[in-house]
């Protein structure tokens, strides 16, 4: 059992004269027994980070600690970490039993003990009946569990998982998500999990680190990231459908602060006004509102924003209403369940002022 610490870690890949900074000055503190997710779009450096922790890559700068021990110069096999690969990376020439037993055999464990441990793990993952098969004879879900078994059987200090569910079909993935989370709770092993799927991250993680172009954007619990995004990137990346962004300026009219977008103008409540007056470095801001933080009314309401229904996206349990506030300004709103809406209908939107966000347009950092 161990915590994992990355201190100012940078990884630069060089090929010829070109240098690509894959991970840029990353500092992370992953607690013992934590389910920690690295989340970000492809190319954000999350997989490189995982490979750095595994020892498959050497950091250009910075230090990596596992269980308090500096591991920069320790080869992968001596780091006591187990990795589950996106492609599962099962050994095609070995039977499932030998696949799972491989790391134990390399550690010169007695044969009896190997057999006992492999069977125990196989039982835990419901793959006992597959032990005599070759990987090619298994389904995607079964392979995934074999890969997991091979990691678990070693009882390592840390699990590293590189998008282990992304090759499963949607239905299986949802199921695998739950059992993986449950398994991690039972085994109590620090787990670092890489994914680009924000739903996976939100549902499984104790804490999430959001990364983009090699840089850490924010670390926090799923709720923190959802409710208090540190910047525009995090706000837009987490949540489905994503947060609506509206560009505008803060304008003072007769002593009162207004948010002035091109097609509408709304007065801001005094508590928000106070915060914005104190913090907004520039007038140009971006308003961020999640679809569920707006309400649609069919009658005109004071301070409501007038719009027209552009299109409806029914999802069964709810309907996402696309509202046109002006030319090329469409926001997504979670629609009321009981009211029938139709395309082209005129409606008024009111915001939940307790849940709106403002971002500085230049720095893209959250102001509110």
């Amino acid at each position: 059992m161990a915590d994992v610490r990355l201190v100012h870690v940078t990884k630069v890949f060089r090929s010829g004269k070109r240098a690509v900074v894959a991970v840029d000055d990353l500092t992370l503190d992953i607690k013992d027994k934590e389910f920690f997710v690295l989340l970000g779009p492809s190319g954000c450096g999350k997989t490189t980070t995982l490979r750095l922790i595994a020892g498959l890559e050497v950091p250009t700068k910075g230090e990596i600690y596992i269980g308090g021990e500096l591991v920069n110069d320790i080869p992968p096999k001596d780091r006591d970490v187990a990795m589950v690969f996106q492609s599962y990376a099962l050994y095609p020439h070995m039977k499932v039993f030998d696949n799972i037993a491989f790391p134990l055999k390399l550690r010169k464990m007695p044969k009896r003990e190997i057999e006992r441990r492999v069977k125990e793990v196989a039982k835990m993952l419901h793959i006992e009946h597959l032990l005599d098969r070759k990987p090619a004879e298994l389904s995607g879900g079964e392979r995934q569990r074999v890969a997991l078994a091979r990691a678990i059987v070693r009882r390592p200090k840390v699990f590293l998982m590189d998008e282990p569910l992304s090759n499963l079909d949607a239905k299986l993935r949802v199921m695998a998500r739950a059992y993986l989370k449950r398994l991690q709770r039972e085994l109590e092993v620090t787990t670092i999990y890489v994914t680009h799927d924000q739903v996976e991250a939100m549902t499984m993680a104790d804490r999430i680190a959001v990364m983009n172009i090699g840089r850490l954007q924010q670390v926090g619990t799923p709720n923190e990231l959802y409710n208090k995004p540190a910047n525009l990137f995090v706000a837009g990346f987490i949540g489905s459908p994503p947060m609506n962004f509206v560009e505008g300026v803060l304008r003072e009219i007769e002593g009162k602060l207004f948010f002035d977008a091109k097609y509408f103008k709304i007065p801001l409540p005094s508590d928000i006004e106070e915060i914005l007056r104190g913090q907004a470095p520039s007038e140009e801001v971006i308003l961020g509102v999640r679809p569920e933080d707006m309400r649609i009314s069919l009658e005109k309401v004071p301070e409501g924003i007038r719009g027209r229904i552009y299109v409806l996206e029914p999802l069964g349990t709810r309907t996402i209403v696309n509202v046109e506030l002006g030319p090329e300004l469409i926001v997504k709103v979670e629609g009321p369940r009981e009211v029938d809406l139709r395309i082209g209908q005129e409606i008024w939107l009111t915001l939940d002022y307790n849940r709106i966000h403002f971002f500085d347009k230049k720095t893209e950092k959250a102001i509110l």
Binding site: L56, K77, F85, S87, Y91, R154
Partner: protein, 291 residues
């Protein structure tokens, strides 16, 4: 590549043209050669009277045939085994260095040279005052200095070495492609699991390049069975019979001594020996093609 059956038939039809051409040209010639081998054409004048297997009996009972056969078998073993394993090991090491293009070029150069040129080159290398002996003298290894290809005890092995040198590049490329075909993640998984160096090579890499052996081994065995040019250029079968091989014996019989029927008989014997290698290989290849 997995293709629907329909496409396999189309593929087959596309290849039918070349297959037919080869059949007519090659197999008709083989049939012709077989007939000659059973005729009494034993001088410059063509004579095609059928004599059955008499020529075969004559040829097989000569000392030259026995020596050639033994030399060919030695050649097969001493050439195929090191070329295969050196190729595999070097391919692995080359990939580990990350300088594949450079090393591939270096090793392929010898394969690219024609056997005749290579033979001439090595005649100079092996000469009494040649490069090899000069090098040994410089290094103080005087006990190694000898007339490599004029000494009957070393001539055959010196020639075998030349063919290893020539074919190593081929072997390396095939194994390099096979190793590079292994999913990188599998190797990395093994590294994280605790494998390194020899364990990685023997337990992960080697089992996954088996198919490359199926290409390299039969082709090298066939090359050893057919070997002619290097003998012709370097030693003409000598000194004595020490570097005699079947293909050279065939040439001598047919085109030097003008016993055309005997030459044809040796040619057919070489063909039959090749079939021992080719038939299982072709069987395997066809089985894979048609699933």
């Amino acid at each position: 590549m997995r293709l629907p059956r329909r496409y396999k038939i189309i593929q087959f039809l596309i290849f039918l043209g070349p297959i037919l051409t080869i059949t007519v040209l090659l197999y008709a010639m083989i049939a012709w050669c077989t007939y000659i081998s059973m005729s009494d054409w034993r001088s410059a004048a063509i004579s095609l009277r059928f004599v059955g297997f008499r020529n075969y009996a004559d040829v097989v009972s000569t000392e030259r045939f026995l020596v050639s056969l033994i030399n060919n078998i030695q050649w097969m073993i001493l050439f195929m085994i090191p070329t295969t394993f050196l190729g595999l090991v070097l391919a692995y090491l080359i990939i580990m260095t990350g300088k594949e293009t450079l090393f591939r070029t270096i090793f392929l150069l010898s394969t690219a040279i024609s056997m005749t040129v290579a033979g001439t080159l090595w005649v100079w290398m092996y000469a009494s005052e040649g490069a090899l002996n000069t090098l040994f003298k410089m290094l103080g290894l005087n006990f190694l200095v000898r007339p490599w290809i004029s000494d009957p005890s070393t001539a055959l092995y010196a020639l075998i070495f030349v063919t290893i040198w020539q074919y190593l590049g081929f072997s390396i490329i095939v194994f390099e492609a096979a190793i590079k075909g292994i999913d990188r993640a599998i190797v990395e998984a093994a590294v994280v699991d605790g494998a390194s160096g020899l364990t990685l090579f023997f337990r992960i890499i080697l089992p996954q390049v088996k198919h490359a052996f199926l290409i390299v081994v039969p082709l090298l065995v066939l090359a050893a069975l057919k070997v002619f040019d290097v003998v012709y250029v370097m030693t003409r079968g000598g000194p004595g019979l020490s570097t005699y091989v079947l293909a050279y014996f065939m040439w001598v019989k047919a085109f030097w001594e003008r016993f055309m029927a005997d030459g044809a008989a040796i040619a057919i014997i070489i063909l039959l020996l090749s079939l021992v290698v080719v038939i299982p290989y072709a069987w395997y290849a066809l089985k894979r093609w048609f699933g």
